[in-house]
């Protein structure tokens, strides 16, 4: 999501994390996300 693609511009890491967070339980698994969130340093 952070890189430019042919169909959209790249996003900042903060934006990416926010968007991912919004879709936890929909696209993303909550348990997996909580482990990841703890390991991410922005």
């Amino acid at each position: 999501m952070t890189s430019d693609r042919i169909y959209r511009k790249g996003m900042t890491p903060e934006e990416t994390l926010r968007i991912i967070k919004e879709s936890v339980g929909v696209i993303y698994d909550a348990k997996v996300f909580s482990v990841l969130e703890a390991s991410i340093v922005l």
Partner: protein, 299 residues
């Protein structure tokens, strides 16, 4: 299979009869023979086929533990069960530590305890028989088999490595952007895998799965794959086939099924509205659950 032969040794005839009755109630028919003199018992063990020995500990002529030790020397495959009371605790500890007994009967016993002990002893005997059978085949020893299995696993791994290399050679010139993205995803996969303390094998699977997750896009017609605007409904339907295409290619190449699964299901959503199978929650494996994070978080 022949009836298993069980020899019970106890100096008290009443106990012998009672235990014999208990054993007759066991789910599988057993041939139960009994002996009150441990020296005769030892002789029987030497000359006859006995599968399981049940002996009392306290006997005037010979202790149960000594009988077990002697019997072990004669017939190493004999399953042995020691019967005793609380007062012989030390003896029981010794017997267990020696590794000679498969079970221990405490007086007074219950039918279901005896059943359980017998089931365990029979399973242990069958396991030994099987190992003996395999070894006797003049084919390969257990150690040799381990080497064979290890070789096969190594072959499988190097096969997967070569497949990855070949497919990278296809993806790289065709779609450099996709290739670069996949390589970075592979790197992140290793990092995330460490967070979840995955095994070395699973880490490798995740890395390869991540590297090849969009392989199927190469099979999508270029005017759809490289369209700069929004895809229309028909184009999107075509585009959504890429996980299946990728999985089919890898399956045909004989790739590790767990890697194929990652590729096939990397667009599944935990809520069940993903594609191609609409899998939900824990129907999606951990390795596969990690893949959308990889796809979306990788620069």
């Amino acid at each position: 299979m022949n009836k298993l032969r069980v020899l019970i040794v106890d100096d008290e005839v009443g106990v012998l009869n009672s235990l014999t009755r208990t054993l007759r109630n066991y789910q599988k028919p057993l041939e139960v023979i009994s002996e009150s003199d441990p020296r005769n018992a030892l002789n029987q063990i030497k000359t006859e086929t006995i599968d399981i020995l049940i002996t009392d500990q306290r006997m005037p002529l010979m202790s149960g533990l000594l009988l077990i030790h002697e019997a072990k020397k004669l017939k190493p495959d004999l399953q042995m069960i020691l019967k005793s009371g609380y007062t012989d605790f030390d003896v029981v500890v010794d017997a267990i530590n020696d590794g000679h007994i498969t079970g221990f009967i405490m007086k007074p016993w219950l039918q279901r305890e005896i059943d359980l002990i017998m089931t365990r002893a029979i399973a242990s005997k069958q396991e030994r028989d099987f190992i003996k059978f395999v070894t006797k085949q003049h084919m390969l020893s257990l150690e040799d088999w381990k080497v064979v299995v290890q070789r096969l696993e190594e072959d499988e791994q190097s096969h997967d490595e070569r497949t990855v290399r070949a497919l990278s050679l296809l993806i790289q010139p065709k779609d450099a952007e996709l290739y670069q993205h996949s390589v970075r995803i592979g790197e992140l996969a290793m990092h995330l895998g460490n967070q979840f303390s995955l095994s070395k094998t699973d880490l490798r699977r995740l890395e390869i799965g991540a590297l090849l997750h969009d392989l199927g896009k190469v099979a999508i017609r270029d005017h759809i794959h490289y369209k700069s605007g929004k895809l229309n409904e028909e184009e999107f339907t075509q585009m959504k086939k890429h996980p299946l295409y990728g999985a089919e290619i890898l399956e045909a190449l004989g790739m590790d099924p767990k890697i194929v699964e990652i590729v096939k299901h990397h667009h599944e959503h935990v809520c069940g509205d993903g594609y191609p199978d609409g899998l939900k929650g824990d129907d999606i494996s951990l390795l596969t659950k990690l893949s959308p994070f990889l796809m979306h978080m990788t620069p």
